[in-house]
């Protein structure tokens, strides 16, 4: 029982670390990158980081076993943050 939980926590941690290292792959020399490419990188970074947030909530914070209202609420907050961040970036790009 204990080992199973430990293994699950460890694999969650490995996935999180792998997702972090993914950022190294994302092109770093974007000084001359076009607007579309920049927007793509931004959206990708936001989505990847929110995926990580959700993994932390589900696995580390144990929302996976929690009551339904908490599962719904955390997912709702993650979705709301996603909409807010991508929306602000799009708004800034469109009207700024």
């Amino acid at each position: 029982m204990r080992n199973a939980i430990d293994r699950r926590l460890l694999s969650a941690w490995l996935v999180l670390c792998a997702l972090t290292l993914l950022y190294l792959v994302i092109d770093h020399s974007t000084a001359d990158a076009g607007e579309t490419r920049r927007a793509l990188i931004t959206v990708a970074a936001v989505v990847v980081s929110l995926a990580k947030v959700r993994i932390i909530m589900r696995e580390f914070m144990d929302v996976r076993h929690a009551a339904r209202w908490l599962r719904g609420l955390t997912d709702g907050v993650v979705a709301l943050v996603a909409v807010a961040l991508i929306g602000s970036y799009a708004a800034g790009a469109a009207w700024g």
Binding site: M1, R2, I5, D6, L9, L10, A12, W13, L16, C17, T20, L21, Y23, L24, I26, H28, T30, A31, A33, E35, R37, R38, A39, I41, T42, A45, V46, V48, S49, L50, K52, V53, I56, M57, E59, F60, M61, D62, V63, H65, A66, A67, L70, L73, T74, V77, L80, V81, A84, L85, G87, S88, Y89, A91, G92, A93, G96
Partner: protein, 205 residues
């Protein structure tokens, strides 16, 4: 709403059913802390929103300033906090199965990771300031110091939660599953807020 309140410590220690995994379809920690972390997450989303809104208005200036950051250092900081999160999750798990020594060891390891992150952050600030990047240099660095500083404040508050955690794990009379889980929930919040800040400051274009 009696579940909202911290049960008396003696009652928690006297009632083994409190540690039963079968009652897990509930809420980890106080429901109150969840309202706090989710509310705080939304407030942070507000800060992020203003940053992302203003950023594409001067893409060149932001990009040039962003080049001054050390992505590898940011990645090491992120890995440090992710590891601390793993350790505190293990600490809470160990406490649930009443392995107090394992729980304590993991709690101390969590605090060490926290101190390491703090040290790295201060080193990063000093090196940025030495390079001439101060809070008033440009908009990007205003946001950089604001977000990292506010996050570091949350980390310092997290040490207070870790102190409560260690206190609760050490004394048999003080052990309360709810409070132990609450400390874990707060620490993970510090972790995932950093995950977001890292992506926004170091990676976003």
């Amino acid at each position: 709403m009696s579940t909202t309140f911290d049960p008396p410590a003696e009652a928690a220690a006297a009632a083994p059913v409190d540690w039963d995994r079968a009652s897990r379809d509930n809420v980890p920690g106080q429901p109150d802390i969840w309202l706090f972390v989710l509310f705080e997450t939304l407030v942070f989303a507000g800060y992020f929103g203003f940053y992302l809104y203003n950023r594409p208005r001067h893409p060149g200036a932001y990009l040039a300033a962003q080049q001054e950051l050390h992505l590898p250092l940011g990645i090491v900081e992120t890995l440090t906090l992710l590891t601390s999160s793993l350790l505190i999750a293990r600490s809470v798990e160990a406490a649930r199965s009443q392995q107090w020594n394992t729980a304590l060891r993991n709690a101390y390891a969590t605090a060490s990771c926290g101190v390491l992150f703090l040290t790295l952050k201060v080193i990063e600030w000093i090196s940025e300031a030495r390079a001439g990047n101060t809070p008033i240099s440009n908009e990007f660095f205003s946001y950089y110091y604001f977000l990292t500083g506010l996050h570091l404040l949350h980390l310092l508050i997290g040490f207070a939660f870790l102190g409560v955690l260690v206190h609760r794990l050490r004394g048999p009379a003080a052990r309360s599953r709810e409070v132990i889980e609450t400390c874990g929930v707060y620490w993970h919040t510090v972790d995932y807020l950093w995950v977001l800040i890292f992506a926004l400051l170091y990676v976003v274009r």
